[in-house]
């Protein structure tokens, strides 16, 4: 039960229920689709990037609480960041969710992203947390193909 509470923290449940930046964007400059063939979940990311800065970002799609909360928290975090900063955050997030369960989490550096530390206890769910991030990376790097978690 402890691990479950660690995974499904209130903040994740809240973002799942009322995700931020959820929906389509018509005048986006970048877009990408992510797909997890394991569960059939799909996510779409739309971004408006001007002068190397992510001015606006939205997401939509089908997904579990972890995937949805990840998309919600991620978009809130990336709004106003530069593309280089977003790529840096992607690396940090990847490192967090794939790091050893026993390793310490730098909550100061990771801020809100630290709530996803609980996913490390659940190897089958790491891909759910990473889907939105992989998709945004593809979007801002202008890759057209559907990104999969495989």
């Amino acid at each position: 039960m402890e691990e479950l509470k660690e995974l499904y923290q209130q903040i994740i449940l809240d973002h799942n229920k009322s995700p931020k930046n959820y929906g389509k964007m018509v005048n986006c400059t970048h877009a990408s689709e992510g797909y997890n063939p394991l569960c059939g979940d799909r996510i779409k990311i739309y971004a408006k990037v001007e002068n190397g800065v992510i001015e606006d970002i939205k997401f939509e799609g089908e997904g579990c609480a972890i995937a949805k909360a990840s998309g919600s928290i991620m978009t809130a975090l990336l709004k106003g960041k530069t593309v280089a900063e977003a790529q840096q955050l992607f690396e940090e997030f990847q490192h967090l969710i794939t790091s050893d369960v026993r390793s310490n989490v730098d909550t100061e550096k990771l801020g809100k992203l630290a709530v996803f530390a609980g996913v490390r206890e659940f190897p089958t769910r790491v891909k759910c947390a990473g889907l939105a991030w992989h998709t945004v990376k593809a979007a801002i790097e202008k890759k057209d193909e559907v990104v999969t978690t495989e």
Binding site: L4, L7, L13, N16, L38, C39, G40, A65, A67, T124
Partner: protein, 425 residues
Amino acid sequence: METTTLKKETVRLPESRQPGHFDVEKIRADFPILQRPVYGKPLAYLDNAATTQKPLAVIEAIRRYYNAENANIHRGVYHLSEVATRKYEGARKTVKNFLNAASEKEIVFTAGTTDSINLVAAAYGRKFIKAGDEIILSHMEHHSNIVPWQMLCEETGAKLRVIPINDRGELIFEAYEKLLNERTRLVSIVYVSNSLGTVNPVKEIIALAHQGNVPVLVDGAQAVAHLKVDVQDLDCDFFALSGHKIFGPTGVGVLYAKEKILESMNPYRGGGDMIRSVKFEKTVYAELPHRFEAGTPHIAGVIGLAKALEYVESVGFEAIGAYEKALLEYGQEALSALKKLKLIGTAREKAGVISFVIEGIHPHDIGTWVDRQGVAIRAGHHCTQPVMERYGVPSTCRASLAMYNCKEDFDTLITALHDIIKVFD
């Protein structure tokens, strides 16, 4: 008669484990894995449609083969090879009796249901199905009974026709009648749906197809652990099954085919053991069924499979059927009582499978949550994406039972579901 009554009375158990007259405790004791805890909780294994657990008798049979009997079959003149050959061919007889086939020549060992269907698509389909011909499937097929036919259609120019299903998850029989026509060359249909639990009226489906001389393949993967199968009574032309879905090992399965049809087919894979003589000018193929078993087969798997079938028969399908029916009803009723839960697949004839979704909670979150309470269920599309599309859901949760499950397994699941509904609310 008297002995039967007496036996039933003596095996009667406390109400909690006992939807019918069936000694589930005795069965459970035969499956070592059911004794192990998961996350410190008793294991409630409800993913039997994916694979079943193995009784000690099967594990021991495989162990004994590798420990004391291992040799290649059909060629050695020494003792071990004779033992292995006798066991392998003895297993064929066990399968023949289990399915009530007319002859052992009709039993081909394969790697599983998928392999069996691919064998038919390649060795029968490529020979007899041409451009413009039609193959009838249903909307509730597993990907393994869709993709091999699609591949065949791409190669030959034949077409797939799909029998629709109603909201309960039953085939629309009238639509099937209309789909059958003079271009139909094959009907390939699932007996029990792995994602909906629907038991299809395969006997009627076959009878109707035969009126137009159309052969029928029955995908029996999900049926064999729950229903008595008699291929002569069904009059099916092909029947495919997997060992691991009936308490046997993975990587082994069976293709039953009527002897006449098997005789008319092209060979499948070429190699050793499927030939009588090989010359560079010409090869003469072996007799049935060896013609379809190229290479060294999964001998240990075949021996394990036969042991599993013997085990199931020792329990008896009448007892299994009655017990599972009561357990399925218990599980369905208890699940339906949960608010926001919707059953996917409510056919009047069902076996083994309960699929469901809960409003506002993704199946994967449910799967992870109940896992930590020791409950193994499936969350996903169950290799039936067309079914998911039909119901407008990307995935479902699926609790699927076997004869060793008990009411407590469902009780644990339901308690866990209560918890997650509360937390996610």
